[in-house]
Symmetry: C2
Subunit: 493 residues, 2 copies
């Protein structure tokens, strides 16, 4: 079902990804050598207003400002007058005095390109006033298709007189900033992004989007639609990126402890193995390399864990996809937004697993972590189930690879490895944080009730799942996409 993608740029050179099943995708490789093209890409844009200072705001605003240094394009932050983020924006060098910090609606009114990086819930609430405030013919820039999902739930659409574009970095804000800074010495370091053109009133929307993505430091930019993006993004963070990895670790940890492992050993075999060596192997050599690198005696353990986990993970992922696709998950996030003042989100890292994790991380130095074959089988099964669910719904291969593999192994898991699950979860958007809290326990329970019980009761498992895993097209996709992987890993300390 996956479809080929193509687009036309007047400014940037396209590359072509050659993909399985005769498909291809046009992409744009990034790099600092392209910053000189930005004034041409942003033709007609004198001011970029960056609205909001949450996860993406600080990263994108600073990256844009630095990439556009020496041009006449101004990057100006817009915040509500009572915003608690004003000081943080000032500390990052955005100031009222020099016209780079101002009132949110004033900045929206003035700007030719408005990057709307406020929370999804705030977008849902404020969009009528925001649309109203924008100049006719201006460009609305989103980093997420969420607002389209919300407008659909409401039976509304974007004003016809605006360009509507999206650049969605496939990593949390701090990674987008961190790798951009690393990229000053190593050209091409960064977080991949998808882009979409939803409305193009002046014929320049594609290059505005590509220019924005290049200026953020994306190593490569692939095409999608707002619809595919909001579905895959909200789905992915509830799945393997956050919800699944959290829930799987809790369940694996408990299982190892129940089997007699020490708490430290249980955490090392579960969380440490996933966020450390398994992620590293997948990132550098692909998913299959995890399995192939196991000693022969461990391969059977991996296979049993994989065969038992895949069906349970797929069941939850099918539910998540339905919930996102139907608009339910977006309605839930909006409802949660209204409850947050009364019931603020609590911490998730005070429980035993993560307290033990804190100790394990402190004493880690110099120790090498083993790829536990059971953990690997469980984790990779959930990852493959996510890939298959997205494939069944016709998402582009680049989107599948980035949402299911690259974003976790190159951006989120390394942070989790260095700083723990709470840091990782809580540096994502509110939508992602809510989703992780909602779905992690579901993965934990279902895999415990179905997958581990199947193993313990020695139920017959489906061997075809292993054949499908070994011959899956995703391996060729990752090899092709991997050619554009920057030579530098994220520095998380």
């Amino acid at each position: 079902m996956t479809r080929s993608q193509d687009f036309h740029s007047k400014v940037f050179k396209k590359d072509t990804l050659t993909l399985p099943k005769g498909q291809s995708e046009s992409v744009v490789r990034g790099g600092r050598d392209l910053f000189s093209l930005l004034p041409k890409a942003f033709e007609g844009v004198r001011q970029i207003g960056v609205i909001g200072w949450g996860s993406q705001g600080p990263a994108q605003a600073q990256n844009l400002r630095e990439s556009l240094e020496g041009t006449s394009i101004r990057v100006k932050i817009g915040l509500q007058q009572n915003s608690r983020s004003l000081d943080a924006a000032r500390a990052a060098g955005f100031r009222e005095e020099n016209g780079t910090l101002g009132d949110m609606f004033e900045v929206i009114r003035e700007s030719d390109l408005v990057l709307l990086l406020i929370s999804d819930a705030a977008q849902s609430q404020l969009y009528p006033q925001i649309f109203e405030a924008m100049k006719s013919g201006a460009t609305l820039g989103l980093s997420h298709g969420y607002l389209l999902g919300h407008l659909r739930n409401e039976g509304k659409s974007f004003p016809k007189h605006l360009n509507v574009i999206m650049v969605a970095p496939k990593g949390m804000g701090p990674s987008v900033r961190k790798l951009y800074v690393q990229g000053k010495t190593v050209n091409g370091a960064g977080i991949n992004a998808s882009f979409a053109v939803h409305q193009d009133v002046n014929g320049k929307a594609t290059d505005y989007a590509l220019g924005w993505s290049v200026a953020l430091g994306s190593p490569y930019t692939f095409q999608t639609t707002l619809e595919n993006e909001f579905k895959s993004d909200i789905f992915g963070e509830r799945g393997i990126l956050l919800g699944a990895v959290h829930g799987l670790i809790e369940g694996l940890y408990r299982r190892y402890v129940a089997q007699g492992a020490s708490r430290e050993e249980a955490f090392t075999r579960s969380a440490e193995a996933i966020t450390g060596p398994i992620s590293e192997i997948v990132s550098k050599r692909g998913i299959l390399a995890v399995y192939e690198g196991l000693p022969a005696s461990d391969k059977g353990v991996f296979e049993q864990a994989y065969k038992a986990t895949y069906p349970a993970a797929r069941e939850i992922l099918a539910e998540i996809y339905d919930e996102v696709s139907s608009g339910n998950e977006i309605r839930s996030v909006n409802l949660a937004g209204a409850r947050l003042a009364r019931y603020p989100m609590g911490r998730i890292d005070g429980t035993e697993t993560w307290k033990v994790g804190e100790r394990v991380r402190k004493e880690r130095a110099g120790k090498s972590v083993h790829v536990d074959p059971f953990t690997a089988g469980v984790y990779i099964a959930a990852m493959m189930a996510q890939i298959d669910e997205l494939d069944e719904h016709g998402h582009p291969y680049s989107e599948i690879a980035n949402e299911s593999v690259i974003e976790c192994t190159d951006s989120l898991n390394p942070y989790m490895h260095a700083r723990g699950v709470a840091y990782m979860v809580d540096n994502c958007s509110t939508t992602a944080r809510l989703g992780a809290r909602k779905w992690a326990p579901r993965f934990d329970y279902l895999i415990d009730q179905v997958a581990y019980v199947a193993l313990d009761e020695k139920q017959a498992l489906n061997d075809a799942l292993i054949t499908e895993f070994k011959t899956h097209v995703i391996h060729a996709v990752l090899a092709e996409v991997g050619k554009m992987r920057p030579s530098v890993d994220i520095a998380v300390t």
Copy 2:
């Protein structure tokens, strides 16, 4: 916000519940002595079609048939021609030969009163054909307000030419049947029910509903609306009735094991205490009696557990209420219905907790179970949080008491005590089963992350919660409603 309730019956005598805050509710007490009034209550009804044979179908059809014995009113089952339940209906004595079993749509077309007891998901799918098939002026009987919720999501409503009534027993089908059978020797044994009249085209709808409820064997019948019923019912089963009790037990069990208890001891202190003595005390002497019956040294443990748990439980319950009230939960159930063929619901009782439970139940005979004060504090806090959430949304007191207290202590928990959690969960409707699977893990995680961490880290807790608990109006409500409690407990073996 809770409002007084009243209605007019031409057949049945009303009683008045005198409730706190100057409120009152009219109710109808049941009993076998009232069966002679049924022909008058059902005036104009020659055939009652019972559509479906799931949880409520077998119970209601058999109770109705026996209560109407000797009258000219026929009870006829309608099932789809390929239904897997045909044999079960025949085994219960409903036969094609004598005109008490037939094709679903044929029975719908013939009947004056159509009791629609097919699954919620099936109602959502089939309602257009069902409405179409019904005789003009006939009565549609629901045992759940779900269909109203679904019609609202779709922007639709019931056909104007039909009576639309509801009788919603506050217990699962097997309990409705079991207590009716017990009621043959002990007058008044049964499951309470709420009723609602949504449309009344011939002025007889109220007595049809009350007659139906009396014929089911309800000890007392209170009034609500379809809207309040679907909200409180879907909410309640996701809360203390199924989801919360399951999730709380898993968390308590794990906590006791981690603290060094044996597995059997951990199960006894958590599940056995809740479904045994705590439920029994609440059922016979009210919620406060659980606390007051504790030795002085245990009261402090209860209070700490209560203060830590209440806020976390309330947060989840507020989320559940929002999800139900917004229509999201109904949409989720419909989406799940479409997935069930591909991903059938798995068992929930294969995990460690419930395996241990099986052993504990087997070896229980003669042992008396202690009211663990920590378990009691956690469980009662969740129960009170549910009561407060319903009260905040203006539900009638009878509904609050039945959905949050009586249904669990008198119907569900005793079954769970005798046969385990899976029996209890899986004998409820598909909507309830899906909800229990969805929300149990959420209670478990949030209480673990927030409540138990608060206790372990000795965080300051809110003492006012204990004062509010002790002076809560629910205690007076339960005392008043308790006057109508049948003298017989459910026999679960």
